[in-house]
């Protein structure tokens, strides 16, 4: 990777970390009686800015995060591990919009390496020259597959696998421990989710081979074979891997497993609190901020739908600070 000095950036991040929500602020939000009170409290806490709908607040906070990162680094490509995930999401939206002849613009997410609109035009015109090689190849393959078979799940599987492969490749090229750690957990947990969901839908070995992505901590051939045999076999296989602690959560529910993954990831990032010079604290801050945004989204949606506080507490992730 290009060598950058992150001393200034880490110093600013240390100050920003003091403003991240701790469990105390999250509890304060949960204790609010309704949706409007939560929005008011968020405003008091300086979260989002002056908006009155949940998506505006969350989008404003996301934009603030990426604006800060743009200020702190000369080269935003160091954050491509997050941005390429948005590209592949936008590719999925584009391919499905072309197939169903619908308008995709409202479903694009910002923060990719390419604007959603430009990506859509490239895919629509089948001109992949402006796209990175891997994204172009995936665009061509997924669009052809969807047009030929009409199988939306297969199209999703192709794009999801390409996303995971791109994340792994990026981490390999960066050679930064914090990024490798994130990529490994991201890819492994995605593989587990694909295996569990696919096994419940009785998917074939061929489907799993096309969907699972290589990672260091899982043998994907063994995982695919277990997934074909059924859910219990997946649990048996995972019991012999470093994800054995996750088995009880997977048995409980997928959302419980997702919470386990998020907590594990955030805990692994906590050592970045004492790292003064590398990109690690910035990556940790991005994940911590996204975790905070996820928690706020959950609270807002729960309040909007009148969900019980105990249900919110069950789903809320551990906080970074």
């Amino acid at each position: 990777m290009k060598t950058q000095d992150f001393t200034y950036a880490v110093s600013r991040i240390r100050m920003k970390e003091t403003k991240l929500f701790s469990r105390k602020e999250i509890d304060r939000l949960i204790s609010q009686k309704d949706y409007q009170s939560v929005l008011r409290t968020l405003y008091e806490l300086g979260f989002g800015g002056e908006t009155n709908s949940n998506e505006d607040v969350l989008t404003a906070e996301q934009n603030k995060l990426w604006q800060l990162m743009a200020e702190l680094t000369d080269d935003m490509s160091v954050f491509d591990i997050f941005r390429i995930q948005n590209d592949y999401h936008n590719l999925k939206v584009s391919v499905k919009s072309i197939y169903s002849n619908t308008e995709p613009y409202s479903m694009f997410v910002s923060g990719g390496t390419i604007k959603g609109e430009a990506l859509f035009e490239s895919v629509k015109n089948r001109d992949y020259s402006e796209l990175p090689d891997a994204l172009g190849l995936t665009a061509s393959l997924s669009l052809d597959t969807l047009l030929k078979t009409g199988d939306g799940q297969l199209c999703d599987a192709i794009i999801d696998k390409a996303t995971l492969d791109a994340v792994t490749l990026f981490a390999k090229n960066m050679q930064q421990e914090v990024i490798s750690e994130y990529a490994e957990l991201f890819v492994a947990s995605s593989n587990i989710k694909i295996a569990v969901r696919g096994s419940r839908l009785n998917k074939s070995l061929d489907f799993f081979s096309k969907s699972l992505s290589d990672c260091n901590t899982l043998n994907i051939e063994a995982l695919a074979r277990s997934a074909v045999k059924g859910f219990d076999e997946i649990c048996n296989y995972l019991a012999d891997t470093e994800y054995k602690d996750a088995v009880s959560y997977i048995k409980k529910s997928m959302s419980s497993f997702e919470k386990w993954c998020d907590d594990k990831l955030l805990n692994s990032m906590k050592k970045q609190k004492s790292e003064p010079f590398t990109i690690g604290p910035l990556i940790a801050y991005i994940l911590a901020k996204q975790n905070e945004i996820k928690a706020v989204r959950l609270i807002l949606i729960a309040k909007l739908n009148g969900l019980d506080d105990s249900k919110i507490n069950e789903r809320i992730r551990e906080m970074y600070v």
Binding site: S11, R12, K16, P276, F277
Partner: protein, 160 residues
């Protein structure tokens, strides 16, 4: 005579510029971190300034040693006498502890100060503890300074 004087001057130069380079790198690193903190919280200026200036001392120690050498050979204060090659070499050797230790200790103290500035940024009430940690690195610069001064003073007493 000429070579002896040159060697003594080389010692003075080494003490000044090597310790000076170390200090400038250390203060530079700490300064970048301080600027980052001040961009978010200007009220922490006095606290981060102290931490930022810690690696500056090695440059001063180098200057002090150079001054003593220049005084020893008579360049400062007048009356530069006969300096033998051996005497010049001895002055050069006497400058090396602060030159080398000043260079490396200031760089590492700078790194330590950066970490201290980050700690103060998150918890301003830990200023005392954050100051002690980089100050530990200072010990080795002081030891080197002590040896350089003792050596320079000793050269005169040798009567070479």
């Amino acid at each position: 005579m000429e070579l002896g004087l040159f060697l003594a001057l080389l010692g003075a130069a080494l003490a000044t510029f090597m310790a000076g380079i170390g200090s400038s790198i250390g203060v530079g690193k700490a300064g970048v971190a301080a600027a980052g903190v001040l961009a978010e919280e200007p009220s922490l200026f006095s606290k981060v300034l102290i931490l930022m200036l810690l690696p500056a001392t090695q440059g001063i120690y180098g200057l002090l040693v150079a001054f003593l050498i220049l005084q020893g050979v008579g360049i400062i204060g007048g009356g530069a006498g006969e300096i033998s090659n051996l005497e010049g070499l001895l002055y050069l050797a006497a400058s090396l502890p602060i030159a080398a230790s000043g260079l490396f200790s200031a760089i590492h103290q700078g790194k330590c100060s950066v970490a201290g500035i980050h700690t103060v940024a998150k918890k301003p009430d830990t200023m005392g503890k954050s100051l002690i940690i980089p100050a530990m690195v200072e010990t080795y610069a002081i030891l080197a300074l002590l040896i350089s001064i003792l050596a320079i003073n000793g050269i005169g007493a040798l009567g070479i």
